[in-house]
């Protein structure tokens, strides 16, 4: 699992890094926002997936097993939200190689 901590805050042009990652067909990009981003200490990472993909639940469990900070941040937020390719998704949805998965707390705009 590679870690990408180089993206400056907010500077994530849609499609750019995702497209680069998409070339590596067995990986998925994970983005963290707000309190999760701070607790985990980075804005994104790349994770390896099995060829057929896996559910969001399984992916989050895998990320937590690999990094105690991730596990702690997930445990601290009982209402985690997930977006797959910039569309809100459910925990049983299948994540496939090349997808962009964002994990964040409930939204507080307006």
């Amino acid at each position: 699992m590679a870690v990408d901590g180089t993206r400056p805050y907010g500077a994530y042009p849609p499609g750019s890094e995702t497209e680069q990652v998409g070339i590596m067909t067995s990986t998925v990009t994970i983005l963290y926002f707000a309190a999760l981003r701070e607790q985990i200490g980075r804005e994104s990472q790349v994770a390896t997936l099995p060829a057929g993909g896996m559910t969001v639940t399984a992916l989050l469990a895998q990320l937590g097993q690999q990094d105690p900070r991730v596990a702690g941040a997930f445990a601290a937020e009982p209402r985690l939200r997930v977006a797959i390719n910039q569309t809100l998704g459910g925990l049983e949805q299948i994540v496939r190689p090349g997808d962009e998965v964002a994990v964040f707390p409930p939204m507080t705009g307006g």
């Binding site: 907010g10 849609p14 926002f33 964002a102 507080t108 705009g109 307006g110």
Partner: protein, 181 residues
Amino acid sequence: MSVPGAGVPKVGSPEMGSPELDSLGAGIHVAVQEAPFDTASEIARLSALSDRTGGVGLFFGQVRGGNGLVSLTLEHYPGMTEKILHALAHEAVQRFGLLGCTLIHRVGTLRVGEAIVFVGASAAHRGAALDATAFLIDRLKTGAPFWKKEEFADGHASWVAAREEDEHAARAWSQDTPPPA
């Protein structure tokens, strides 16, 4: 930092889909930006959309002070934010028969009293304009990927927790009929 419109189909472009959607999209303006916005010119645009415009509903949100709050920092998910706001604007135009609407949301650090959000809805009659404005701000608060962090005079900072009443207000619009005023 913000990328207004990047990765989002331009209104009226072939990517937007049906000709019907294209014509509806003509009156829609969406922006995510650090810069302030000019409320008067935004109202003027909505007012001038059509001879059939009878009124403009408006919500203007700003940073509320109190308890030593100095500023808010708004983070968002570039790309997804613009997609969600465009979808919300199209839904409002169709659901309330609007002539157009505007959603402008600022990001970055904003001090007490500074503008955060502008929601405007142009319609033939006040009912649709006011209902659409409430619909748009209620749904935006919990459905668009923005997060607020509060910064206080004593130096501490904390992320704003989602409020149950905000979630409830957004859910109330998911039924076929609008909630009673």
